[in-house]
């Protein structure tokens, strides 16, 4: 996986992008899984962007011109997916929920990326007592049940429920604390490996400052696994957000739509046979996580020559893909 990129002719930027390049080297089943994942994730993103246009009503809307919405109404013409016990339109809340999910993913992954990468680079490059302390702390947090940690953090930040941005940030920050150790570990391990590489030594000999070595030589090489971690963590972020919402630590229904919260409210409906309040937000979670996971898993498998689907000889002409032929070895 490492050296061929030095000799192979450079391909245009588009085909070197993470998902695109993986799509090109995938075959058969794996390509199918990756494509399904890309489509689902794309739908999720589009829904979140166009939620205001797609949703028939607002997420906290309880009435329209013809009067207030009925409660617990079965799916029908006016409310395609029915209404909840509080009188919200289920379809609207499901669509708006994607916006909340995307916001939390972006905020949490951006924060954990920044913190995790920065700490990992510093810790791996300089070593010493800072490194030792950070490793022990990261290991301790890593071994702890993520949901419990997220609960504690969200108590600290918002004491439970709060406004849209307050809720978003408390969820996002809880998720960040859980993820930072993971990014930290990966980046630190890579940094330690790269530190011993000849190109870092020669940069040192040339008199480059530590900042320049870290920022220019190590950073670019150490962050290669990040697309994979991003997709896997994005799906985990959604599950954590939904879990927090389900336990009542989410965002109040008047400030935003959140799938986990809706499922919590739907739980009481199930015993009377009301299925539409819970099933649709649940399906939204599953499809979103499924899409992101399929993308992540496929990238992971394609990066691992042991697992990657083997291209049959002659099936593709594979002009400049030395990695594919390398993987073809049994």
């Amino acid at each position: 996986m490492s050296t061929p990129s030095l000799t192979a002719p450079k391909q245009p930027l588009f085909s070197r992008l993470p998902v695109v390049s993986h799509l090109r080297k995938s075959v058969g089943l794996q390509r199918g899984m990756l494509m399904v994942g890309v489509v689902l994730s794309g739908l999720f993103l589009l829904t979140s962007i166009f939620a205001p246009l797609l949703a028939p009503y607002g997420y906290s809307q309880l009435s329209d011109a013809s009067g207030s919405f009925p409660t617990q109404q079965a799916p029908g013409a006016k409310h395609l997916l029915g209404t909840t016990v509080g009188g919200y339109d289920v379809l609207s809340r499901v669509l708006w929920g994607s916006q909340t999910a995307v916001t939390v993913i972006i905020v949490s992954v951006a924060m954990s990326l920044f913190l995790g990468v920065a700490l990992g680079l510093l810790s791996g490059y300089f070593g010493g007592w800072l490194d030792r302390i950070l490793v022990v702390v990261a290991d301790a947090i890593y071994a702890f049940p993520t949901l419990l940690l997220a609960i504690v953090i969200s108590i600290v930040i918002s004491r439970g429920q709060s406004s849209f941005w307050g809720g978003i940030f408390s969820c996002a920050f809880s998720i960040t604390v859980v993820f930072v150790p993971q990014y930290f570990r990966v980046i630190r391990a890579e940094t330690i490996r790269l530190k011993a590489e000849p190109f870092v030594e020669s940069a040192k000999v040339l008199g480059a400052s530590s900042l320049r070595i870290i920022g220019r030589h190590i950073f670019k090489n150490a962050t290669r696994t990040l697309p994979l971690m991003f997709t896997l963590n994005a799906s985990e972020a959604i599950l954590t957000l939904a879990g927090l919402g389900f336990l009542g630590f989410g965002i109040e229904p008047t400030s935003a739509a959140e799938w986990g919260f809706d499922l919590n409210k739907a739980l009481a409906d199930t015993s009377s046979g009301i299925w539409w309040t819970g099933v649709f937000p649940g399906i939204a979670i599953v499809l979103t996580v499924l899409g992101l996971t399929l993308v992540g898993e496929s990238i992971n498998d394609l990066n691992d020559p042991r697992i990657r689907g083997r291209k049959r000889a002659g099936a593709t002409k594979s002009p400049a893909t030395p990695t594919a032929s390398e993987a073809g070895k049994p």
Partner: protein
């Protein structure tokens, strides 16, 4: 966990004489070192949780703030010692922990240890049931997927594994409840047992708290049936979450070992493909599963909180959520710290088991 896995990369030339001189002492030394690694882990988590919980103020104001007149509140805070400097409280708290005192809940004034002994058994029972489901589903399906690699059955099973992971346990629980309790009426909707069985259970002498064990011991088969029917849906909901992880792990590892030379040698000698998978490739693939099981315990505890809330399964997780809603942060802190210790100790045990099975782990 990784500290253990990374170790075996030592030069054989250096290791060989050393292991000869300390024959038999390797495992004991490993256990001792691994045991002392628990302490910093627990210490850091305790410190983290303590200071985080103090950032938001004292627990008594949080729990009873609006309901008590200010002077009574101040008196309570003073009596409990929450008006002293935080550092003094911290060291006192550490001292209490060492003597096994995890504090007393504010809302119902019970020692946290008692809460654990009362509700811990239910959580343990749920976790064991779920683990059985996870292993029973994950390992055979993982083997099938590995054997039929890249065929349609493999595709279906892999998709199933990802679906297991992608479905939050409270949603799968909700679906199971809707289908099997409400529509089909096969299983009860919620709880650990029907009211009558609960009464029989509580009248037993020295109950273990694990209902099926108690029912079996007292020879009460009606109760056993009742308890089992209550246990099925929660166990499936939580078990499927982990089953997906096991399935993928078994598949990946068996495929990895199937590429090894000794498998090729076996194949050339005419050993059947089925036997190769079940007999030769399966065992080495199990070692990573045991290691991952340790990490799964942490995941399962998180899942157990959600499962217990979904099915009103009165265990530690259910109780934790009750305390959270009551804003009883002493109870929350106590339970969280206890769970941290449980996770650390189980990880320790799992590492020891891994070392017993695979000598390479214990350098």
């Amino acid at each position: 966990m990784t500290t253990v896995i990374e170790v075996p990369e030592a030069e054989p030339g250096i290791v060989a004489p050393r292991s000869k001189s300390k024959a038999g002492g390797g495992l004991g030394k490993y256990i001792v070192i691994r045991f002392f690694l628990i302490i910093p882990t627990v210490f850091i988590l305790v410190t983290l949780v303590f200071f985080l919980m103090r950032v938001i103020g004292d627990p008594i104001t949080a729990a009873q703030g609006g309901r008590l007149p200010p002077d009574v509140l101040a008196q309570r805070i003073h009596d409990a010692g929450y008006d002293r400097p935080v550092l003094i409280q911290y060291f006192e708290y550490l001292g209490q922990l060492i003597t096994g005192n995890f504090g007393t809940t504010i809302t119902d004034r019970r020692p946290v240890v008692e809460v654990l002994t009362t509700f811990g058994a239910a959580t343990l029972e749920l976790s064991i049931n779920a683990l059985i489901v996870a292993l029973a589903v994950g390992i055979p399906f993982g083997l099938i997927a590995a054997q039929h690699r890249d065929k349609s059955s493999d595709a279906v099973l892999r998709f199933f594994a990802i679906l297991c992971y992608a479905t939050p346990v409270f949603f799968s629980g909700l679906l199971l409840k809707l289908t099997f309790s409400v529509w089909l009426g096969w299983f009860p909707v919620a709880g650990r047992a029907s009211t009558r069985t609960e009464l029989t259970m509580s009248s037993l002498g020295a109950p273990s708290g694990i209902y099926w064990l108690d029912a079996l011991r007292s020879g009460n088969f009606a109760a056993l049936g009742d308890v089992t029917s209550h246990a099925v849906l929660p166990a499936v909901a939580l078990g499927l979450l982990t089953a997906g992880v096991f399935l993928r792990l078994v598949r990946t590892n068996v495929i990895g070992t199937l590429g090894k030379d000794y498998i090729e040698a076996g194949r050339s000698r005419g050993v059947s493909e089925f036997r190769l998978v079940t007999k030769h490739a399966y065992k080495p693939a199990l070692i990573p599963i045991i290691t991952v099981m340790g990490l799964q315990i942490a995941l399962m505890l998180g899942g157990a909180i959600l499962t217990e809330t979904t099915f009103e399964w009165k265990g530690l997780g259910y109780q934790l959520v009750q305390y959270l809603n009551a804003r009883d942060f002493v109870a929350v802190q106590g339970i969280v710290v206890l769970l941290a210790i449980i996770v650390a100790v189980t990880n320790f045990i799992v590492d020891i088991i891994a070392a017993l099975i695979d000598p390479r782990v214990r350098y």
